[in-house]
Amino acid sequence: MNQEVIILIAEDDEGHALLIRKNLTRAGITNRIIHFKDGQEVVDFLFCQGEGPHRQSGQAYVLLLDIRMPKLGGVEVLEQLKADPELRKIPVVMITTTDDPREVDRCHQLGCSNYITKPVEYEGFVNAIRQLGLFLAVVQVPRINGIH
């Protein structure tokens, strides 16, 4: 994948975030990763609001989004991104522990690019991340312009 692309991980569970990083590395993806602890943080980053770090114009991002997070859940974050004419271009991969079909449907309707469940069984998890790596390798990641 284009080394310029930055991977954003919104995941409240640090263990999960760490496992995702390790496995992405193992799958050969070495892009820069920024970790957010809840939905609000990633929204603040992308919409350039609040006191935390903000995104840069002209940069390409991919977002790995957990669904169940404090403050703002993943679905709400997805909703907000897809409502924005510029940010809606960002490929979003939902990562969650459940595979509730209604939830999967809802995320697809909202326009997520991919949906990965975190299996408890580790081979599955590694596989899922490997797939994610493949997905990230083939997807065209547009640059995101404009500053909010």
Binding site: G15, H16, T98
Partner: protein, 566 residues
């Protein structure tokens, strides 16, 4: 012996002669009687009978203009039995009828009032009707008990002008008389209260009252003024008078007579006639049907309303439960992902170490390098596994706590919220002092609920207010309330850090914590609060502004002062 015998035969002969004489006498007499009978025989005769055109029920005319009425029917019965025929002369009034008799234009009047005055001019048969003339008063007029009470000008008494009662009372004197032209006028005067009594032939007035449905408005004074008798009126010395007398006497005593009286003068109609029963039953059935339909609609609506309510309730509980299961499964799987993931990470390292150790000649340097680089990761992995186990323990304990609280039996009763809140404030006294916060409680209306559960609700809210205080200013908590028809609405307001609008919807969710990094709390408090209130038919909402504070609004069922519909 012979002498005796002779004397006996002589006696016997004498007796025989005597008997014969007697027989002849009787026979002759009988022949005389028969001759007399033949002379007054009614059979085959034709009588000219003067009748009145309109004096019901005695004389009336049917739809063809033929005379009818009590006197007519009686006369015609008599005629049929005795075999005579009738030629009617219909006249206007008693005077003209009497004149017809006087002039010999009619033979008799079949029903004419008998009085001393008329007896001097005419002959009458035995009475063919006897009518008591009585005083009528308004219902329950206890002032007048007898005719004598009317004397001495004490009461106004209505009589028919020149009627029998008028004549009689005028003769007696001492009565304040109001003269009426006919029965309707008299009755009106009595019912309108213009007179105190009305004197009239009883059966005629009773029939009138019954026909007008007024029998319940009038009482009859016991003893009659007199009894009006009517008989057949003839010219004096009429030879048929005796024959009519006999026939009439027989007829009046026969069972036919009362039947005829009843027919023309009527008798109290039984209240429950078949028609009336049918009509009343129909009305009753219709009323009942209407009532049943209304009742059915009402009860169906009521049941439906209750059903809808419990359905809504159940749906809400179901959603809550679904949410709970979803959240629980999600949150319980989360640490499992970590346990599995990090033990695999450990496994990787152990496998690498295994490969090195399996070699014939162990490369101590490589082994040491590997151990040194992987050691922190291994430590971290173990730490994460143990942390996940702890996290699961907390979650499971929380779930158990929540399910236990649902199982607690509720005792719904009126609650003195002032007392409850006073005790609650006492229990928070130390923490309030420690944090330097100020808690004020206004006068609160009572509500209905389970005291320990409601204490838990408010304890949780106060606890949250303390936990999420804004350290940059003096912390304040205020508890107030308002009351409307059905709800006691309590407000727990603080000036803490507040909750952003887009986070407000999530705060009641199971295990949802806005700032997990704060360490405190298990994410159960508000979920439990919501669950408790759900069981108490109550509700909680939040209004908040970050940096200003939060208000939690709790709606509990008010105590009903009056009966109210649910």
């Amino acid at each position: 012996m012979t002498i005796y015998t002779n004397s006996i035969s002589v006696r016997m002969a004498g007796v025989t002669v005597l008997l014969l004489a007697l027989f002849v006498l009787v026979f002759t007499l009988r022949t005389d009687l028969r001759a007399a009978d033949r002379a007054t025989e009614l059979s085959g005769k034709t009588f000219r009978v003067a009748v009145l055109g309109d004096f019901p029920p005695l004389y009336m005319q049917d739809s063809q203009g033929q005379p009818t009425g009590f006197a007519i029917e009686l006369l015609e019965t008599l005629a049929a039995e005795a075999g005579f025929s009738i030629e009617y002369i219909v006249t206007e009034n008693w005077g003209t009828a009497a004149q017809l008799i006087r002039d010999g234009e009619a033979d008799f009047v079949p029903g004419f009032g008998i009085n001393d005055y008329r007896l001097t001019e005419f002959d009458f048969t035995v009475p063919m009707e006897s009518i008591p003339v009585r005083a009528f008063v308004k219902k329950d007029d206890r002032r007048i008990g007898t005719i004598a009470d009317l004397a001495n000008d004490r009461f106004r008494t209505a009589v028919i002008d020149e009627g029998a009662a008028h004549v009689e009372l005028r003769r007696r004197g001492g009565y304040k008389l109001e003269l009426e032209q006919n029965v309707d006028e008299g009755l009106n005067a009595l019912l309108a209260g213009n007179v105190d009594a009305f004197i009239f032939p009883e059966p005629v007035l009773l029939q009138k009252l019954r026909s007008m449905g007024l029998e319940d408005f009038v009482d009859v004074v016991d003893e009659p003024l007199f009894v009006l008798k009517r008989g057949y009126m003839f010219r004096p010395g009429d030879r048929y008078l005796e024959s009519f007398n006999r026939r009439l006497e027989e007829l009046v005593q026969s069972p036919y007579y009362p039947e005829l009286l009843k027919k023309w003068y009527g008798e109290p109609a039984p209240f429950w006639t078949v028609q009336k029963v049918v009509v009343y039953m129909l009305v009753f059935a219709a009323g009942l049907t209407v009532l049943l339909v209304i009742w059915k609609n009402y009860s169906v609506r009521l049941v439906n309303k209750r059903l809808r309510r419990s359905e809504k309730h159940l749906a809400a509980r179901n959603r809550e439960l679904e949410q709970l299961v979803y959240v629980a499964s999600h949150d319980l799987r989360s640490p499992l992902v970590n346990v599995d993931g990090f033990s695999r990470e450990l496994d990787f390292v152990l496998k690498e170490i295994g490969v090195l150790l399996d070699k014939d000649e162990v490369d101590q340097q490589m082994l040491e390098r590997l151990l040194r680089t992987e050691f922190p990761d291994m430590q971290q992995s173990l730490e994460r596994i143990r942390g996940s186990a702890r996290q699961m323990d907390i979650l499971i304990k929380g779930l158990l706590k929540l399910s236990r609280s649902v199982r607690v039996k509720l005792e719904i009763q009126p609650i003195d919220m002032n007392k409850l809140m006073h005790e609650l404030v006492e229990s928070f006294a130390y923490r309030l002092k420690e944090t330097g916060m100020e808690l004020t409680v206004e006068t609160l209306p009572p509500c209905r609920g389970d005291a320990p559960q409601i204490t838990r609700v408010f304890a949780n809210l106060v606890d949250n207010a303390i936990k999420y205080r804004d350290n940059s200013r003096q912390g304040k908590i205020n508890i107030s309330a308002t009351l409307n028809k059905e709800w006691a609405i309590y407000r727990v307001a603080d000036n803490g850090i507040g909750i952003a609008e887009n986070h407000q919807a999530n705060i009641f969710e199971l295990f949802h914590r806005l700032n997990p990094a704060d360490g405190e709390g298990e994410g159960l408090g508000l979920t439990a609060v919501k669950q408790i209130l759900g069981r108490l038919d109550a509700d909680i909402t939040v209004e908040s502004q970050p940096g200003v504070g939060s208000v939690f609004i709790i709606k509990l069922p008010a105590i009903r002062t009056k009966r109210q519909r649910t």
